[in-house]
Symmetry: C2
Subunit: 198 residues, 2 copies
Amino acid sequence: MNESSPRQGSSAASKRKDARRNQQTLLDAAAAVFVTSGVDAPVREIAAKAGVGLGTFYRHFPTRADLVIAVYRHQVDTCAEACPALLTAGPTPFAALERWIDLFVDFLVTKHGLAAAMQADSTGFEALHAYFLDRLVPVCTQLLDAAAAAGEIRPGLDAYHLMRGIGNLCIGTDSDPRYDARRLIALLLTGLRRPHRT
Amino acid sequence: MNESSPRQGSSAASKRKDARRNQQTLLDAAAAVFVTSGVDAPVREIAAKAGVGLGTFYRHFPTRADLVIAVYRHQVDTCAEACPALLTAGPTPFAALERWIDLFVDFLVTKHGLAAAMQADSTGFEALHAYFLDRLVPVCTQLLDAAAAAGEIRPGLDAYHLMRGIGNLCIGTDSDPRYDARRLIALLLTGLRRPHRT
DNA sequence: ATACGATACGGAACACTGTTCCGCTTTACA
DNA sequence: TGTAAAGCGGAACAGTGTTCCGTATCGTAT
């Protein structure tokens, strides 16, 4: 990697002060707006909240999805990095897996509409989908492998499927209080668990 | 019910021949377009395919969702009506439940984007969501109750949750060949099943 | 301190949605 | 056949994401 080459993407540090400041202002505004209006909030609303024009928005974040990634990147990374500690702390690998999934679900349901936006088929959100998967599938694989090695779960379910399923189950947790995604996810994990005898 | 009162809604039989013909033409065009472009196909595309104006479209189907309901109403009803036969034919109530869910999943994944559109929070698709639920929750409840009475499943999961979960798991089955919703649904059902010993 | 070129800004304009509205046409019936 | 009611078409509206370009600002070389 050549450090001096100008990096592309939303996290590039610009030479100009106003550019850097605007990028941060946009991130803050977006974080605030996402809480109130969900991840699907109009670009104009975010730009307005940041006191910035549309051109500025798109200069920093070529696409809406890039903004979402930038806003949540830190939390996704945190979730990914929690894995080793959980594996060490947990009584069993399966317990660690459960805890990790809890973390992941917390994250998804807290951000209104994030789960739905993560769908690869949503317009232009492929990048978001890809980022989540790139970052989290490896750690989920590690947890699954550990649980499988300990004989706690039946093998054969890859991390991609599990994460995809959990993401889907979290869709619409806001907008419907009677729906409890966690219950279904728990059921899924029960189904994954190997019966104690044989 | 007064048969002579003019019925509201998309299935009202109009007095005028051209109106009836256009309604049918629209339904046919929509069915065709849904196969090619998915349930999210633009209204204009459907109207164009039917060779009618937008005004005509909205006269017959006040909202996009009403059209979707009209197109799939028959299949939803068929799915609902399959229940008694399955309960009679199946070796056990749980087997009947499995078969019925298979039917339901077949239906969902066949129609590109239907599962996603069923989300209550999608713009204006509340009616679609409601229709599915009104029609299918009762029969799913019946199947669950039968399985619970036979002691095959652990009680405590209502039909609404199960259907909601299955619907969610089916989201994005097109647009991603590596994702297999059925596998996860099977896992969910395994988790629902009561362990054989107590 | 100033001048200048590169960089970034703002927001009008575009393309694409779903939906409404209303002047005109077609139909059914007397 | 005349007429009123019913239906039709598509322009127009409102709300998206995104592009474009004239203008303003910043960093730096002088």
